[in-house]
Subunit: 405 residues, 2 copies
Amino acid sequence: MAIGEAPLPDFYPVPGVRLGVAAAGIRKADRDDLVIMELAPGSQVAGVFTRNRFCAAPVLVAKEHLQQSAPRYLLINTGNANAGNGEQGMMDARRCCSALAEASGADAGQVLPFSTGVIGEALPVAAIEAGIPAALANLQDNNWARAASGIMTTDTRPKGATRRITLGGEPVTLSGISKGAGMIRPNMATMLAFVATDAAIAPDLLQQLVSELAEESFNRITVDGDTSTNDACVVVATGQSNAAPVTAGSPLLPVLREAMLSLLQELSQAIVRDAEGATKFVTVTVEQAATRQDALNIAYAVAESPLVKTALYACDPNWGRILAAVGRGGVDDLDVSAVAIYLDDVRIVHQGGRDPQYREAQGQAVMDRSEIGIRICLGMGTVKERVWTCDFSHEYVTINAEYRS
Amino acid sequence: MAIGEAPLPDFYPVPGVRLGVAAAGIRKADRDDLVIMELAPGSQVAGVFTRNRFCAAPVLVAKEHLQQSAPRYLLINTGNANAGNGEQGMMDARRCCSALAEASGADAGQVLPFSTGVIGEALPVAAIEAGIPAALANLQDNNWARAASGIMTTDTRPKGATRRITLGGEPVTLSGISKGAGMIRPNMATMLAFVATDAAIAPDLLQQLVSELAEESFNRITVDGDTSTNDACVVVATGQSNAAPVTAGSPLLPVLREAMLSLLQELSQAIVRDAEGATKFVTVTVEQAATRQDALNIAYAVAESPLVKTALYACDPNWGRILAAVGRGGVDDLDVSAVAIYLDDVRIVHQGGRDPQYREAQGQAVMDRSEIGIRICLGMGTVKERVWTCDFSHEYVTINAEYRS
């Protein structure tokens, strides 16, 4: 199941980036499961990573290497997360980096490793080592679509987005891919996402931009409230376009920021649209909050309520469940008599109770849609936040009860 | 579905308490849905109530009446929660109290109203008014079992517990009933539970006792993390036994406390055992925590993780999901290399990674049981907390996708 149609775009290649893909037999035979992203010398790389305390070994190694030297390769495998594997996991992640370094002539410290898949099983390093030559052999700048498929786990479809903009009159490209369908509530980080642009940006500014934009994209989605051990969002800037370097005070910065935000939002929303078992794409907006934390607390309470999510699955305008989730959302000074709740444009709750004008048929009409907005007005201030989520279906239970078997 | 067999006990009547039950047609025809609990003059009543900000009208009225005068009646209906109904809900709750007061000769302020069922639909006051005479007509001291059935919603079976102890050599009785199967994560309160004893206790001490014991029973269960708008746990002490009054310094207090705790734990665990769609009863214990809040944060992160709960449903010893939930549990200074995790007596995680001694068959043997303990040792201190929960099944989705239809 997945929400709506979402064919991959025709990716614009990003000058300075080539992708190689191989079927290395990491977990299943005959499926692409190993992706190498080669970056031209001089590329800047920035990333945000999971805050789960059981951070996976490849995440630890990637963060370490990112501090050391300018990365030349991203090495991504699906089928095994290499998480919860202790010291062995660290050694395995380093062995993979060394293998790619040897085969390509780079230093091991210039390789950033990423893994996704089952937690707590030993990484099949030999399979990865054996697959690296094949992946290197087909490095191409137009391999984004195959790479998008090569990083999938329970995803039902590959996810990608691409933009071409002008910066000071010069063409600049942004392309990216993402994966993820379950264990999704990124916390100051994301599921796996890899984005590249040929714009030139200083490393500090790129890191600041990625951190800010993740807050408005990947850090605003939730499928099941479970923050993964392996989340990572990496943005590469190769600097190979003819556009002037983007600096902190530059008028080009807002233009690039806008394009990158729209790309990251598209990639993050694609994860929700393909969430395990999902049939509805839901935007939960909390307005008129006193603080950002209040707004987020209530938005997540609603977005993660199993009762709200099963009502969405049933197309049932059961607004009592939304109201109950708002009430337990952790805002102690909430004045319930000031609360209004809308389903798309239909006001269902007014002054804390059922809107006298509301008729169930109106709510039903909204709930029958596959894209639904739940808007909650608190009457306490001016802060607004948005979270994207999905419904909770039989299929979610089936997928997660059968994933390892 | 429900876990194990759980026949109602043969209730010991509590001197000073009579129960009347009627089928008032509140939501469905021909089922008991109205319960009156009559308390002898001089009874002390204490309670804890939901902290959901959208507190239901009957909860507000019950708290108000509890402040005013010594209650003589509890009036409980199922089929409609009278929550989210604004001013009309308050008026409706008061009308029900007045109707019972008129029929019984009490004051309206001596009636505590309780409602459970669907949120946001107008309370059918006329049906309740019409049902009151029938409920009054069958007031009996041995009506606990029928009352337990008369307060059910999606519960598949009635829930009750009963004890006979001696206090200073004198026999004392405690009996109680509870209901609830979904929208269960009581927050400093409980789902509906009504408990009575013929012990004599001063009102302040009774309130203190109920608040403390709720923390160790109802406030440690979670089905779906959704705190209800109508939770209430009420304890009545009629003082009709021959035992000496229980006072703060009395050696009788620990004896009564122990008996009441065991009764409240049995009632609260009965809710988890009958949780919507549940097939497993799971005790999540967090040990060696630095603070109570750390222990509870991690216990709830595990107990409410949809991925852990679907793995339990599948009998899959997928400990990676437990580890991921521990890691996102909000304990920032968690040293993952000190963490151990057990399934019953089987150690699956040692020093933050898979225990080298662990074999999957051992974990599988535990997961095949219907009662499972997950024990997490943090190595940070000496605090221990326990939370009771269940798995997450297809049946949960079915029940909650179909509840209103």
